[in-house]
Amino acid sequence: MLSTRLYEDFPILKTKINGKRLVYLDNAATTLKPKRVVEKLKEFYYTSYSNVHRAVHTLASRATVELEESREKFANFLEVSPQEIIFTSGTTMAINLVVVSLLRSGLLKEGDLVLISLLEHHANFVPWLRLSRFYGYRLEYIRPSGRFGTLEMDDLMKHEGKNPKVIAITGLSNVTGQRIPFEELRNIFPNAIVVLDGAQLLPHERVKPKEIGVDFLAFSLHKMLGPTGVGVLYGRKELLEQMEPFLYGGEMIDRVSLEDVTFNELPYKFEAGTPNIADIVASKEALAYLEEIGFEAVHERVKRLTQLALEKLLKVDGVELYGPLDERQHGIVSFNIKGVHPHDVAHILDQEFGVAIRSGHHCAQPLMNLLKEQSLLDFPNSTCRASFYLYNTEEDVRIFVEGVKKVKEWFSR
């Protein structure tokens, strides 16, 4: 299935960057969109757009049906009930929803223990940290002890028996690309509410939350070929039913009197206001596209490109690579060049080679501090990050590595 077709499906790949072919390696930030998704948006706005759930006219019915089809598609994908699929604006909002709603409903309270890891990006770090100050639950960090931010099984096991109320952890680090053995979480913490941040994981891997005993799973569609502004939160029904809503307003209510309100049924209880209708509708096309290509095929290609990039960069003197560097590293290669700031690397790769990578702290400052402790370079508080997806090729990796070598030469004159 994976062939030249991909090139045709992603028109933006034909864009020239300073006269060079675009080599897009910023997929961990966001992915490019296939024609199918963009066309769905257009078609929906031209033929079926309306608000959903409220009105009885034809367009409202069409829009509602389309939106609920999206919900069903995601429910089937995760093998959960549509009632357990909540549409949010993205992973950040989904995780904020979980933290706030658990607190408001008393499922998480003063004195309880919450475990998070130092690998987390800010979306799964700041809400837990900040709200602990207002609600008095205890926060403990799982520190990765492996090379450059690599989380080892022992690091998880150290917290066994602590009986945390919640463990919230990423499935795949957005900095080191390490795939976390999240299947083990349920066994290690049998009584905890398990929150899996799937923002980086779901683009690469089909996850079945019920099979592995995950209570909440959050991810964003824009990182898996879909439009921006759409996130999916899976929540286990029994928990969602006990939870107080995150946002109050239209459509999430049942009855409103002057004294109090009762709430709508799941999942609408958690979807206040007018949702991001067209983008949610188009999201199902992104998932359909990925399923057509096949998650296994995507996984295999990305795996090959990641290993190739690691292998090639390991041979370049003065390049420091972060993360595990073994089969656990998937889709993301994070590195620094001795004496060159990541912004300069990214800027020159773009200008001279048409290669788009990310540079910065990747919204993961606690992890940056950890990398700094171990770095043999004058660590610049940030890294360069190349991240791969299904439309990338071995030629892309070659151009990227050549670019890295040139940047190194440039700065060592």
């Binding site: 700031h341 990541p342 300069d344 800027h347 702290h361 610049p380 508080n381």
Partner: protein, 138 residues
Amino acid sequence: MIYSEAILDYANSKKFRGKVEDASVVEEGKNISCGDEITLYLKVEDGVIKDARFEGIGCAISQASASLMIERIINESLENVESIVEEAEKMARGEPFDGQKLGNVSIMSDIKNYPARVKCFLLAWKTLKEALKKISQS
């Protein structure tokens, strides 16, 4: 290409790096999105910047900008420095600016073509502006 030899030379130059021990004002600046930091030391006497240095980490653009800035403002009156900052900001925004006033700083005028890097260029200048505010308040 913004990474000319001249700019890289300024970026690597140690001439204006370090502390001014008897500084009249010390100001810290930060670019939140990239974690770049600068500490700017100014020694002011009779309304004139007698000495200046900077410490910090950052990309070549921010380091070159800081070096060029300090080279330009030493021995200038505070009044002049204020107008130099204004011209540097205009240059970064791509507006017409007084090249004579900026002197060597104008070798970075191409920065206007790289919106994502403008904040790297401006870090030192923003910090200088804050330092000037402190001086005028004291």
